[in-house]
């Protein structure tokens, strides 16, 4: 596979990883609210999770750019 496809593959991996992360965080938030956490904490939790999501995104971008291979066996 040519080097041209590397950014596309990284972006696709990033999309899937961020989908997983956002699902996990959103699920955590809904579960907490369902279990009786007061609605007044909802905004705080949302902001905390958004910050954590952004940190995860930065980590994934750095990680994928650094470690995704430049060579292919094909």
């Amino acid at each position: 596979m040519e080097i041209f496809y590397r950014p596309i593959a990284i972006i696709l991996e990033l999309i899937i990883l961020m989908a997983i992360i956002s699902s996990l965080f959103a699920g955590m938030q809904f579960a907490l609210l369902d279990l009786g956490l007061d609605q007044k904490y909802k905004k705080f939790i949302e902001r905390a999770l958004v910050i954590m999501g952004c940190l995860a995104l930065v980590f994934f971008i750095a990680h994928l750019i650094t470690f995704y291979p430049r060579l292919s066996l094909f």
């Binding site: 496809y5 696709l12 989908a19 956002s22 579960a31 369902d34 292919s72 066996l73």
Partner: protein, 679 residues
């Protein structure tokens, strides 16, 4: 097997022992934990809350219950009335089943030596999972298009619904990616025919970049399996502990299993009405456990809303919204009630804060909502229970109903006409009506409309004429007949209904009545299905059944043609309540020259005339009139005649024709009248 393959599968064995086995063991431990969490959560979140409700016997008929469960769950029997959502859900459901089956076989295949090299059953399981994933993807795409692009008004999209789509898509793709990576790492020449057994993963493998060394590839396998298995387990945990919409996976089958097998709209009596201190439902724990299960099981699909005549004509009632509001009330109040000792509970009232009075009284009890609900939620009984509380405990009902109730109490008919006048309609009959007694034939239960309403008296006279002409012996109770009680029961006045019913049953038993023929579907439904609750067991026919039998046996012959186009309006209490659709149509098809064309909403999907549920006696102040909407549907058929077999429907359609300015263009007739014309 060639050397390259041997080396490959030996390497795979290493991967399996060092990578997959630990993952599988960890997952199995997690699975045990998830099952324990599920059991605990089911008891804590659901079972305890249902037990707040009153007892209700839903045991028995195990075979029928299992048959319903399998038919709806696996064949999606009630989903196909709407092709698009039915197809979408069918694909998603069977896709998930295939994925699960494939994974289970592959999970345990290593221990029975099916993987190195992969045997046909292992490869087949792989293919089944791949196909399952594809089905889920296609179904999921249909669902996303419908929810986010087509956006039907009945679908309410909340963030937790969107979450399910995102999560599901991510899990599916990571599953395919694991397999795709293994295929990519192995190379096509090494393993036999990957494309045949794993077509989707093979396609993905063409786009996956492989690391330069085996240890790095092994690390990548760990990484990809973890980002698939861990989120999958956490999704399961989320579904278990939260109020996720995916809980319908187990709540819906439970609701289907415990469904009612009685005819729709057969209302249970209030037990011990003389000694009871409360009537109806004021607060959430006064529902039965099954009614509370109904609330939890509702998937918010909105099919009921789309067929509700009240909702479609702008009334505040939406069956979907009412159920969802009651569900949220249950989630809010249920834990509070459970945390409080029974003698200290102060539960919140349902009326006004959760259910509005206009919303409640807008229901015509037409049962369209129950007919389309895929999981057999019972709305009518719940609405009547709320009405019973309002009427019997708070004496609150719409102003128009006050006079009707007073008339029923004083004169045993909703018109308030003197009881002694009940048989006056017979005075115009030639030959009168035979005197009373079962030796005089079948009892003709005329009903209040046939006795007092001018238009429906003509219908009663027509039926008498038909019975006399074919020599069927019959008799009437005359002034001893009282209202069957339907208006009282459907408006929540159970006490008045029981008084009326018991009085009628005494009279019927006094004469030793065995067989009854009725003019009105409401009388038919009440006498046949509800009088047995009070010991009144009779063989009851609606006249359409009776005449259809006579036509089949050749005793009734219709010879005079009526060369017109007719459309037939199915009465709710004849059709949906008692499944009588064919008998009236048989009668119409037997009339020479008469051409029957069906409205779009006919049969099980028939649209209410607006008079049921006591609304015959109430004015419609909100939105447009239901009978006008139905008349508009009739007009679309361009039929000259509209036929019906119900006095309420006839009244509403006659009014609708006038209101729509269609007098002279079309006419409404009862089927009796058409049969009489054709004799």
């Amino acid at each position: 097997m060639d050397n390259l393959n041997r080396i490959f599968w030996a390497g795979q064995e290493v991967y399996v022992m060092k990578v997959f086995m630990p993952i599988i063991m960890g997952f199995l431990v997690l699975l045990v934990g998830l099952i324990a969490l599920f059991a605990l959560s089911f008891w804590w979140q659901h079972y305890r809350v249902w037990r707040l409700g009153k007892d209700e016997d839903r045991s028995g008929q195990l075979a029928a219950r299992l048959k319903s469960l399998f038919a709806v769950t696996f064949v999606h029997a009630r989903f196909w009335t709407e092709l698009y959502p039915g197809t979408m859900h069918f694909l998603i459901f069977w896709g998930m089943v295939f994925i699960f089956l494939g994974k289970i076989v592959r999970l345990f295949s290593y221990s029975v030596g099916l993987t190195n090299p992969p045997q046909t059953i292992f490869l087949s399981a792989s293919l089944v999972s791949e196909i399952g994933g594809l089905l889920v993807l296609i179904g999921g795409c249909l669902a996303i298009v419908r929810r986010y692009m087509i956006r039907p008004s009945r679908l309410v999209t909340r963030p937790d619904r969107t979450l399910i789509f995102v999560w599901g898509f991510a899990l599916l793709m990571t599953g395919y990616m694991i397999k795709g990576f293994r295929i990519g790492a192995a190379g096509v020449t090494v393993s036999p025919d990957w494309p045949s057994w794993a077509p989707v993963s093979y396609l993905i493998s063409r786009f996956i970049l492989i690391l330069p060394t085996d240890p790095l590839n092994e690390l990548l396998v760990w990484h990809r399996v973890l980002i698939h298995v861990l989120p999958a387990s956490i999704l399961l945990a989320y579904v278990i502990i939260s109020h996720s919409p995916l809980q319908h996976l187990f709540l819906s089958p439970i609701n289907i299993f415990f469904r009612s097998f009685k005819p729709k709209s057969v209302l249970p009596p209030l037990p011990n009405i003389e000694e009871a201190e409360t009537f109806g439902v004021r607060e959430i724990s006064e529902f039965t456990w099954k009614q509370l299960l109904d609330l939890e099981a509702c998937t918010n699909c909105g099919r009921c809303q789309d067929v509700c005549p009240a909702h479609l004509t702008g009334k505040p009632l939406s069956p979907r919204r009412m159920t969802q509001n009651l569900k949220e009330h249950l989630w809010r109040e249920g834990p509070k009630l459970l945390a409080t000792p029974p003698d200290q509970r102060q539960p919140e009232a349902l009326m006004e804060r959760t259910v509005g009075e206009d919303e409640l009284w807008a229901c015509t009890t037409c049962m369209a909502c129950e007919e389309v609900c895929p999981i057999y939620i019972e709305q009518i009984i719940r609405n009547i229970d709320l009405r019973r509380y309002l009427v019997l405990m708070e004496t609150k009902f719409p102003p128009g109903l006050k006079l009707t109730i007073k008339n029923l109490m004083n004169s045993q008919n909703p018109w308030g006409m003197g009881r002694g006048l009940r048989a006056d309609w017979t005075k115009s009959l030639r030959g009168g009506i035979l005197s009373k007694g079962t030796d005089k034939g079948i009892l003709f239960w005329v009903g209040c409309a046939g006795s007092f309403d001018d238009r429906n008296i003509e219908v009663a006279i027509s039926l008498v004429s038909i019975l006399k002409s074919i020599g069927v012996p019959f008799w009437i109770l005359g002034t001893e007949e009282g209202c069957c009680g339907d208006p009282a029961r459907r408006t929540g006045n159970e006490y008045l209904f029981q008084n009326l019913a018991q009085a009628n049953i005494e009279i019927l038993q006094k004469y030793g009545v065995k067989q009854i023929i009725t003019l009105c579907p409401h009388c038919f439904h009440t006498l046949k299905n509800e009088y047995p609750q009070f010991g009144g067991k009779f063989q009851v026919f609606h006249y359409t059944q009776f005449l259809a039998d006579l036509l089949s046996s050749g005793k009734l012959k219709l010879t005079k043609p009526i060369n017109k186009i007719i459309t037939y309006h199915d009465s709710c209490y004849l059709g949906r309540a008692n499944q009588i659709y064919e008998a009236p149509r048989k009668i119409l098809r037997s009339i020479p020259g008469l051409k029957l064309i069906e409205m779009e909403r006919h049969g099980k999907r028939s649209f209410c005339c607006g008079a049921g549920g006591g609304r015959m006696w109430l004015e419609e102040h909100i939105g447009t009139r239901i009978n006008q909407m139905r008349t508009a549907q009739v007009i679309q058929t361009k039929a000259a005649l509209i036929g019906t077999a119900c006095p309420y429907c006839l009244t509403m359609l006659v009014d609708g024709i006038k209101e729509k300015g269609q007098e002279g263009i079309m006419s409404a007739f009862d089927l009796c009248e058409l049969v009489e014309q054709s004799l």
